[in-house]
Symmetry: C2
Subunit: 209 residues, 2 copies
């Protein structure tokens, strides 16, 4: 629940909130490297955010840390990709663009969360910072599901994004091993899934990690 | 938080949960009558669900009833359209297909929620029933945002879906007046938005409600 700032009248709060809701429609135009299981078109970041949030409520029992504040995780998840409206989606294996990713995204967070009333600007920025820092049980579990989601979609689409970008299985292990910090059970499932993708020829073997 | 059913081992629970997560990828292929503000392509129900969930966390303070269980609302919102995977999207002004809509959707709910472990099947079905019945403060506020979202997108795209289907302003009032049960403030905003759409020629006038 939000405590309305006394300095803004309710009508002005609502006007700003709807300006923010209007702006974030743009996330539906930001495309990722993963593709959908049915039409095999590229997934966008709004769809990913919904699927990711649904994973949280379905899989929360598998978090290493219990209990979790699931509401706070869902808030993080629903806003975690909004910075891509300005900064674009950075592919998980794109080391070149990852160098200045956080700086570009922090500028985007300032602008986009800044559309809201001040108390919500501060709340959403704190949630985004928590998600990025991955130091709390909630953000660690969120990060686990955020990484598991594209791995699952890749496995269901014959390794599409891995094949397209020449990603080998050692890089998949290295990039995603932190899933285990949030959920040992999900990481164990992912390891079997990755090994199965290698066995099927959907993910190229690399040097053992 | 979910209480794991003692009858299913954790690995089998996870297997079923991931089968469900895989199945719901199909919601990204269900298209609505509303279009996006930027590319003006049709919106799909996964994107709508994300945008709707984000509206809940931004606008919760405008609910007529306080306090709200925001986590329960978000769960409802994230699953509310999954039945469309089998039943398709029914346009809000399509009175013909609305006749058997609930029956078609209830069958879909049985199948799709039935993929989950039994305790989660029951939990998600209860959430979907609560959303459909619109009798609790949580489901009334959810319904308000669910109706406000396409009105907002229509207003931002020159009345696209209204124009395409010859919907007049009296029908928009009649179909959406229950927004006021969830949030008087959001309904007042919507009324101004609808009147503005009429003034701009984006929504055809009909007989006064």
């Amino acid at each position: 629940m939000v405590n309305p700032a006394p300095s803004l009248p309710p009508a002005e709060r609502l006007r700003r909130q709807i300006a923010f809701i209007t702006e974030v429609d743009k996330l539906k135009e930001i495309f990722r490297q993963t593709i959908l299981t049915q039409s095999r078109r590229a997934e966008n970041s709004a769809e990913h955010s919904w699927h990711f949030a649904l994973m949280i409520i379905v899989l929360a029992e598998h978090s290493n840390h219990q209990p979790l504040d699931v509401l706070r995780i869902l808030k993080m998840v629903l806003i975690h990709d909004l910075v891509e409206i300005d900064a674009g989606d950075t592919f998980a294996y794109d080391t070149k663009n990852m160098a200045d990713q956080h700086e570009r995204e922090a500028r985007a967070a300032d602008r986009i969360f800044g559309l809201l009333p001040p108390d919500q600007t501060a709340e959403f920025r704190a949630l985004w910072d928590e998600f990025e820092a991955r130091q709390t049980p909630e953000s660690r579990f969120a990060a686990a599901c955020d990484r598991f989601h594209p791995m699952l979609l890749n496995c269901l689409t014959d390794g599409h994004a891995w094949q397209k970008h020449g990603v080998t299985h050692d890089r998949v292990y290295a990039r995603n091993a932190h899933v285990a910090e949030g959920s040992t059970a999900i990481w164990e499932y992912a390891v079997k899934m990755i090994d199965d993708a290698v066995a099927k020829g959907h993910l190229a073997p690399g040097p053992k990690p």
